[in-house]
Structures are given as C-alpha cells and as structure tokens.
Symmetry: C2
Subunit: 160 residues, 2 copies
C-alpha cells in the first residue's frame, strides 16, 4: 500500500511536471513518408518569390488520412502531408534530383493545433529527423495556407 | 464418372484452344500504380537525345516486388515499374505538371518475357488503359536496358 501510494504520488508529480500540451504540439517526424502516396511534384526556380527557401524540386506525399482529405476536402486527425524539397541538378538537357534540402510537414490535430487551422507545421533540415526549422509555431506557414480554408487549408489538388 | 470425363475433356479442349502463351505475353495496365512507391523523378528537356518521345517530367513508381528488387537487385516475377511521363508547364519561375503523355511499364515475368531479360515492356498512350504503343515486343526498349544487366536491367536506383 505504501509502495502504491508512492507510485501514485510519483505519477501525479510526473503528470504535473511533464509538459503534455507542449509535447502534443510537437509535430513528429513523418517516418516512412517515402512509401506514402505521391500526390504531385513541382520545380521552383530562381526568381520565384519563394526561391530563397524553396528553390528545388519538391514532391508532395500524403498518408492514408491525407489522401482521404484530398478527396473529400475534410482531413481527419492524423492526416499528414509531406513537402519533400530536393535540390535539382541541371545536366545534359535534364533536371535531376539532388540532395534533400528539407522535409516540410503538415500534421492534422484539430485540438493541439487549433490556432493554425488544426494543422501543425514543421520543417526538418536536410535528412535530419531532429533538426527543426520552424520557430514561430507555424504561424508564418499558416498565413499562406489560410486562404485555402475551403480546401482544408491545403494547396495541393489530387490528380489522376 | 461420365460427367467427370466430359469435364476433363472440355478442360483439355479449352486449354488447347486458349492462347495462354500469347495472353501471358501481354503486359497488363498497372492499375493503381499512383498509390505505389514513388522512386524518383526527372525532367527531360528539348535537345536531349530522347526528347522527341520523352520530353516532360517523369515519375518512376514501383510495386512491392519491384521495391524489393530495387533493394536487392533481384526482381521477383510480378515486379512492376512504371514510368509516368507528364508534360511540364513553365510558368512564373516554376515547372509544373501538365497532361499525361504516356505510362511506360516494365512487368517482370521471366518465362513470358525470356527474350527481353524477363521483362515485358509496354507503353500506354496518355490516360488510356488500352492504347498500346509498343509494336516490336519491347526489343527496342530492352536494347537500352540491356547494359544494366547487373542491376536486373533497371535504370533507377533507390534513394532515401
């Protein structure tokens, strides 16, 4: 009984000390996204307004929830979209994939990320799973996505 | 017993009449390939030796067998690789996906396609599932793939 009380007390203390809400607001690295559904690709070239951060060839991937959302416009919690940005190499009249520049993530959790349309935004530098790039809680990302409210705040359209 | 004999006789007759080998040599349309694994992408521009047929943005997709082959170099029968060729649109310092030009397919069946390295080659025009483009049994396709024998006759490499 004494041990039991100690365990309960320790659990309560850990619960108080543990920044549960902060953890909930952390967008997890999207493990395995390269095997998810490839939605579309695009190249951003020098001179584009976003070239400074986004020049390269990017691919958009959707997990099963996000694929459902792309079809219906309603994204269930747990939906994840990935913006996989690679450098491109111009060579012999081709443009080929180069090194990874960043992995951008939109992670749907309507409670944790209520302030940014229910989406958590994160960027992981290069091939790192821990090098987080977003410092403002995703508010800058969201400001660009906000006009797409009617599409669940998502830019991409599903194509055949 | 009489019925049984009749069934066996009918089966034998159907087996003889049915052009099994001919059908086996037809590469099926790769239904659902857009949900397969996206391997890589590339743009071929005007001036490239293959530009006449392949100018555009292409994406390579692999089914589970082909993904295994990309890892091991050995492709089990049933492996399928898709070369999804889209036009590209140059717009506002971007290159975006346009209309589908063709769906190229490599389908592994070491018996049916023994003469072309165990791979059946086919191309489907645009969004058609029936408009077949390959008229030579894939021999021209195979002549370009042949030097890659050590990689199972596949050009693509698996990347992270």
């Amino acid at each position: 009984m004494k041990n039991c009380k100690k365990i309960i007390a320790t659990s309560l203390l850990l619960t108080i000390l543990n920044p549960v809400y902060a953890d909930d607001k952390v967008v997890p690295y999207p493990d395995g996204y390269r095997q998810w559904n490839h939605v579309k690709s695009m190249i951003i070239q020098p001179g584009h307004p976003l070239a400074k951060t986004d020049e390269g060839m990017h691919h958009i991937y959707a997990n099963e929830g996000a694929l459902e959302g792309l079809k219906s416009g309603v994204y269930p919690n747990g939906s994840v979209l990935v913006y996989d940005l690679l450098a491109y190499i111009v060579k012999d009249k081709t443009m080929q994939e180069g090194e990874r520049k960043l992995v951008g993530v939109m992670h749907k959790d309507s409670e944790a990320f209520a302030e940014t349309g229910g989406w958590g935004f994160e960027g992981f530098a290069g091939n790192s799973k821990t090098g987080r790039l977003i410092k403002d809680g995703g508010t800058a990302c969201f400001s660009c996505h906000a006009p797409h409210k009617d599409k669940g705040y998502v830019f991409s359209n599903l194509r055949d």
